[in-house]
Symmetry: C2
Subunit: 562 residues, 2 copies
């Protein structure tokens, strides 16, 4: 038997992982990686932190934990893998089972024969079709070259003003990196909110915070890049505004690099990614695909979605590495599109459906709730976080969880992501046995507390009102009685200023007569725990239309009197 | 209809939670808490951090997040609950449905009638039956009074030497607190290891670290407390050693306070806790119990176990609060005995079965594996952690996960605890979609990587050897070839010194002839990733008896040459 020939197109995350796993499965296979860039296995998610100065040694992006550069020599010596850099795969000849490759520098072409082929071509940043994109000073933050360029910008300290086009995950990470370099940043997002993986009001909390460090413009877009002598001087927005800048980073999303596959007649999906089955096998059984170039199953909706996340690329690559050696030996179940992002001293994360997506996907028969509180006991140096949970009314299944704030959101999203992939209902989360000690969490973890409130709401024990619903009532001029159940000191220090009446919870039993019975009453406090208790007390005393403002003042994104 | 009378015995965690939830369920119920201490809702898990100086304001242990002391007045005003402090429940008269109570100070007794009774009496520290326990200078760290006493010790700075009896969770937290107070600490643990919720070798890693901050004696016990004029001067150990000390904190575990229940004919279990069903209802249908005084179901074994954790006390209390108002409306499923503990700059946590307990419970048909690595990418300031995972061979179910190290172990235990409660198999964890960004984790989370290795081991793709197995072979004088696959610089900096040969992975293909084919070969590196690749290479080249040292040097607990 001759040795199996495995060819991998793409040397970033999924490709090298597939190659390495294939090697471990079969020490005799001939494994080749074809990589367009010069480098391999770049830690591309680390680029913003290199640009932002979290670390200064660029090699850390391309070396092993023990400091060995992952170059062709490393791949050959440590793994017996033939890693060919600066070489582009330009065509897949499925009939003859070979890949036509071209050396980037010399233009020389050659053919690489395969028994099994892996397509791990990743994704490319989308560049909006507006005038001026060829001006000097416009970049993306997608490649190591981009990172080098932006790091140089940081180190040279010449550029004073920059625009980030796009307020998604990479846009916001780029914003942070450049702001940390001392550059005056403006983020321009076409949609009404940044970070579309969050619901509007959760994203607004991040936006409010981010505005203390950068300029954020939503609901507007760049219609032209302006320049002089071929060099960027500013951008023109849809509303006519012109903003001067010396640098623009475009981060409006990525598109899967699936052309080489579709050109070869391999099936691609509605979202432009390569179609794969649960074995990560394409429509050609000898060809697999993994990473940002594929569409994978969404584990809640069952739809095929893009999920360009570095962790999934690695996991998919590992599955492919097994299957190219031993067909059908490993499955990749799919994604719940879990993501997390650091934003200066805040964190934002989400897993599963946002309320917006749940409404589109499941319909109106869902319940969502927002909780605000602390990530550990106050005496341990707690930081605030806000959790939003969405569930299906019919099944009780948790559809999604979002978490934002300075506190440890990444842990809560990790818990929630695991729970959602387990198909947990709200009931399943109510009594989760999680690790508790004061340095790490409150006695009841925020994920569980949020499930408690969601249960209360679903059972009708709590009549919650979201900040968006309340804002609409206020804007519509509805005649509400707004009850702030905090103490006078707290009221002096911080208050909504939306016409509320301060009645501290402890005094409420004696001051019931101040509250009209014929109006809708909305109770709240800093986080609405006392608001919830106040509502219960009113209901027990005959009030019929009482609501609790979910998340209280802490989760109110609209600005306060003070 | 008259108002329902709810009496709650115990005012620490489960009791107030049950009372508060009952109030929210029924605003008309008459709810009374009988509490022996003067304080209510003490954050008892915070005592070590108050003693250790993490915070100085004692009130933070007994106040709400907004600074209101949770005293009788607070309970009445904010919750309409009659909280009676310094009052002991001394007898339950089930026939007449009343509790006989006694004022602690006056000795005056009275009766409290109930429709539904909640027993939340907690647990008391076990004091070993040895001479001298009545000497001045011996304490526990169980009550707020204890915390006050030990905090005074810290503040007065008079005591120089102290003994902590017991190396469990509370013993180690106490050790840290007193060491931070500048006191010379010796921990004495009767068993062969500290922290019995961990397997020996995982606990040993903590012990090795802890020895840089305190003295640790295992496999020995205090047989007498020595004193002069009624004041502690030292302890005598079983092996005859006498240690001088001015303070001894006894932390050898707690016993459920179930006597008031068993005296009343309420059923208790083999472990001394009150027996409850899934509704937290005792053998008397009008009496519920929650917190450290009960036995709850272990979700893997199905056995009834004690689970004296603050988070579970709160969750159980919430379940009881619902059921006393609306019988059968809420269930508490049980525990996987999840716990976590900070030890200076290290963290140790566990969920589900340790390997030791799995062997006892499931039998020999299990597989365990140890992984060592970093909690995030190196360029983000990674810290090391070690994960051990145990699974059932027949079902593939993950039975337990332990995690220790300076890195973020609490997050990994939270993920693992959720997965175990979901009944996840190793396969279910292989491709978990967790939140990834460089500030929070490596591209593949340590929990997932450990599952990958466990899968490799279970499928026979990796022939792992644990540190304990290797140590035994070394001690037995077996003739092994020990292959360190790291680089020369690393070898100079740190090495095992167990007779190993250094052959860097990158040079191995050319140096195969140096490795004997007739000996058992054990490969390793710092974390045994290169060790694993070396083993694969040897196997592919005809070596038949090759093993990988799990966790590598990082998880080797036996001491190194350097």
């Amino acid at each position: 038997m001759t040795n199996k020939r495995i060819v991998v197109i793409g040397g970033s995350a999924a490709g090298p992982k597939a190659a390495a796993k294939a090697r471990r499965m079969d020490q005799n296979a001939e494994i080749t990686i074809i990589q367009r860039e010069a480098e391999f296995s770049m830690a591309s998610c680390g680029y913003p932190y290199y640009v932002g100065g979290t670390f200064d040694n660029r090699n850390q992006l391309i070396e092993t934990p023990t400091g060995v550069i992952r170059d062709s020599k490393f791949f050959m010596n440590a793994k017996g893998i033939n890693a060919v850099g600066e070489t582009e795969a330009i065509e897949i000849d499925r009939e003859n089972k070979k890949v036509v490759c071209r050396k980037v520098n010399s233009g020389e072409t050659f053919e690489q024969e395969y028994d099994k082929l892996v397509i791990a071509t990743g994704a490319s940043p989308f560049i909006p079709p507006v005038p001026g994109t060829d001006l000097k000073g416009i970049t993306t933050l997608q490649s190591l070259k981009d990172a080098d360029y932006l790091r140089k910008v940081r180190d040279e300290k010449k550029i004073k003003k920059a625009i980030v086009v796009g307020g998604g995950l990479i846009g916001i990470e780029t914003c942070e990196a450049l702001a940390l370099a001392g550059i005056d940043i403006t983020v321009i997002e076409m949609l009404p909110q940044i970070m579309m993986f969050l619901d509007w009001e959760m994203a607004k909390i991040i936006e409010n915070y981010l505005k203390t460090r950068a300029n954020i413009i939503t609901g507007n877009e760049v219609v032209e890049f302006l320049g002089k002598d071929g060099v960027l001087t500013g951008v023109k927005l849809k509303n006519g505004t012109e903003l001067a800048c010396e640098l623009a980073v475009v981060a409006v999303g990525v598109r899967p690099n699936s052309k080489i596959a579709s050109d070869a007649g391999i099936k691609t999906g509605e979202r432009g990614g390569i179609t794969v089955n649960e074995y990560m096998q394409t429509s050609d059984p000898d060809i697999y695909a993994a990473g940002d170039c594929v569409e994978v199953k969404h584990l809640i909706s069952g739809d095929r979605v893009l999920a360009p996340f570095g962790d999934l690329a690695n996991l998919e690559g590992r599955v492919v590495g097994q299957n190219v050696i031993n067909e059908g030996s490993a499955k990749f179940p799919g994604t719940v599109q879990t993501g997390v992002c650091k934003i200066f001293d805040y964190v934002a994360g989400a897993t599963g459906f946002s309320e917006r997506i749940a409404l589109n996907s499941v319909g109106k028969d869902i319940t969502s709730v927002t909780w605000a509180g602390q990530d550990k006991p106050g005496f341990m140096g707690a930081k605030p976080i806000i959790v939003k949970m969405v569930a299906d009314n019919k099944t009780g299944r948790v559809l999604g969880v979002q978490c934002v704030g300075p506190g440890d959101a990444s842990k809560r999203i990790a818990i929630a992501a695991t729970a959602i992939q387990a198909g947990f209902t709200v009931d399943d989360i109510l009594n989760l046995d999680l690790p508790y000690a004061p340095p790490f969490s409150p006695a009841i973890d925020p994920v569980i507390t949020t499930a408690h409130i969601l249960q209360n709401k679903m059972l009708g024990r709590m009549n919650g009102i979201s900040c968006i619903e309340l804002k609409k009532k206020l804007d519509d001029g509805e005649d509400l009685f707004l009850l702030d159940a905090r103490g006078p000191d707290e009221f002096e220090e911080m208050r909504m200023g939306i016409g509320e009446t301060l009645i501290p919870l402890g005094a409420l039993r004696k001051r019931l007569s101040e509250i009209p019975k014929d109006k809708e009453v909305v109770c709240f406090c800093k986080i609405s725990l006392r608001g919830y208790e106040a509502a219960g007390l009113l209901e027990a005393n005959g009030w019929k239309n009482v609501k609790v403002l979910e998340g209280g003042i802490a989760a109110w994104p609209f600005g306060r009197e003070k």
